[in-house]
């Protein structure tokens, strides 16, 4: 049994929103343990509670009840200490379009306490890591979607975090850009950073993640390695061959392929 402190631990995590039609229970008691050094995938259909969970773990959303720790630090009681240990790249690729890539990274470094020279050197290093040296001094508004994602990834790494949170890092990217981001994620993980990523793409989870959890309707419905989850489904259903992760996902969320294709949900994070 692994006795090391988990990189991410959530216990009974709950988030309620007050809405016009009453209280909305976005997350209903999520328990998670992510081991240090792994790539952990967090999957779920639209509106299942993925983004709400990641926003609570990254201190961006208050926790209604339960607790969460990142790199051993409680995110509610010591948010600044937790922020120093985590990097965050959210769905929107939160970048300032009027700045250049270099300016953005230097500013991010300064906000994490680096001196001017140190921040400039770190920016240079990160621009090389995500292969954006040629575009470093161009305004971000001129970047392609893939370049923005890579820059966002770089900005989340400026302070060398122990845990990197990526919320749907490849949504909206073309296949080539998606593969580039996958490579970056693997490279970052190889340097010792724990990666917690949400995704809607099951092949992405299969390709990248050592373990994953599936959330549906605010609750974790499956958790394990991709192989474990496939084996469990094959044995339970008595299937002749190994199911795909798509099959595991559909089984876990109680959806059929027809249902998913026609499903439209409004998400409020």
């Amino acid at each position: 049994m692994d006795t090391r402190e988990p990189a991410v631990r959530a216990e009974g995590l709950v988030k309620h929103y007050g809405g016009r039609t009453g209280v909305v229970e976005a997350v209903r008691g999520v328990d998670l343990r992510v081991a240090a050094g792994e790539i952990f995938g967090f999957l779920g259909p639209n509106g299942a509670g993925k983004s709400t969970t990641i926003r609570m773990l990254t201190t961006l959303l208050s926790i209604t009840s339960g607790s969460a720790q990142v790199a051993g630090v409680d995110v509610t009681h010591e948010p600044d200490a937790a922020r120093r240990r985590m990097g965050v790249a959210l769905q929107e690729a939160g970048l300032d379009p009027r700045q250049t890539g270099r300016e953005l990274l230097v500013l991010q470094g300064r906000l994490f306490g680096l001196g001017r020279g140190e921040a400039a050197a770190r920016a240079e290093e990160l621009l090389a890591l995500v292969e954006l040296e040629d575009a470093a001094d161009r305004r971000i508004k001129g970047y392609s979607g893939g370049m923005k994602r890579r820059l966002d990834l770089a900005s989340a790494l400026v302070h060398e975090p122990e845990v990197l949170f990526l919320d749907e890092p490849t949504t909206g990217l073309d296949p080539a850009s998606r593969l580039t981001v996958w490579d970056e994620v693997r490279r970052i993980n190889a340097r010792g950073t724990t990666v917690f990523l949400t995704t809607q793409y099951l092949e992405e989870a299969d390709a990248l993640c050592e373990r994953l959890a599936i959330i549906d309707d605010g609750r974790i419905v499956r958790q394990g390695t991709p192989a474990e989850l496939k084996t469990e489904l094959r044995e339970r259903r008595g299937l002749a061959s190994d199911p795909t992760l798509d099959d595991v996902f559909l089984d876990a969320t109680g959806r059929t392929r027809d249902h998913v294709a026609g499903d439209v949900q409004e998400v409020t994070a």
Binding site: A81, V88, G94
Partner: protein, 251 residues
């Protein structure tokens, strides 16, 4: 403080790279100055109007234009862009004091306010307005205008943080127009009708306007100047406190 400063530099770059947002800040107040003086200038001739202290009506109207220039609050619209684009969350995910996020924008607003007020007053000087309180008065005039712009941006940022909408933030800024006109805008307070005088006396903008006006028309009148700075200090402290509170509780 160093984090507030780097965020201030970023906000200044943002303003510098969006000159189209600065042009109306300069043009519209000057437009109103010209129009107001053109409409009422003959009613209040310099030679026979005691409250003008020997200057033209433009000198009396200049504070209203300065206040208008300081009440555009474009920084709050940039904040809405940050919120909508996700950069605001990026800032919230850094271990910086929440006051730095507010102070960064206010530092940039102060610098912009100083620049715009200086340009408007210098243009006023070119057209014959003089600053009766001298060089120190000139500097206080610019400083008080710029500080008011910080107060107003603080107010606009509250709307931005609450609504997260550019349209709502823009509309919220229109609240200032009634406040600007519920002041001794065209004549001194003692010449207003009684209901208007009461309304103007309750309105804090009146004291800022009177302080600015005294710096243009009178020698250093510390009582009036002090009241203007006091209003700005109190409202400024309230706005900063509310902004920080709102960012801390932002979900």
């Amino acid at each position: 403080m160093s984090q507030a400063w780097v965020l201030g530099q970023r906000a200044l770059r943002e303003a510098w790279r969006t000159p189209e947002a600065l042009v109306p800040t300069l043009f519209i107040p000057l437009f109103f100055l010209v129009v107001n003086v053109g409409q009422a200038g003959k009613i209040f001739p310099a030679a026979s109007t005691e409250f003008l202290k020997g200057q033209g009506y433009g000198a009396f109207q200049l504070p209203a234009s300065l206040l208008l220039a300081a009440s555009f609050g474009t920084a709050a619209l940039f904040l809405v862009e940050d919120i909508e684009g996700g950069y605001f969350d990026k800032l919230r995910a850094t271990p910086i004091p929440r006051t730095s996020i507010v102070a960064g924008r206010l530092i940039a607003e102060l610098a912009k306010g100083l620049l715009i007020a200086t340009l408007i007053v210098l243009l006023g000087l070119v057209f014959g307005i003089s600053i009766a309180s001298g060089v120190l008065g000139f500097l206080l005039l610019i400083l008080l205008t710029a500080l008011w712009s910080c107060v107003f941006v603080g107010f606009m940022q509250l709307i931005a943080l609450k609504t997260r909408s550019a349209a709502a933030t823009n509309s919220g800024g229109l609240v200032f127009f009634p406040l600007l006109f519920l002041t001794p805008n065209f004549v001194p307070r003692d010449m207003l009708t009684r209901p208007m005088e009461i309304a103007a006396s309750i309105n804090p903008v009146t004291y800022v306007m009177e302080a600015l006006r005294s710096l243009i028309l009178d020698d250093l009148d510390w009582e009036r100047i002090g009241r203007g700075f006091l209003v700005v200090a109190v409202l400024g402290a309230i706005m900063v406190a509310l902004n920080v509170r709102m960012i801390r509780h932002y979900d």
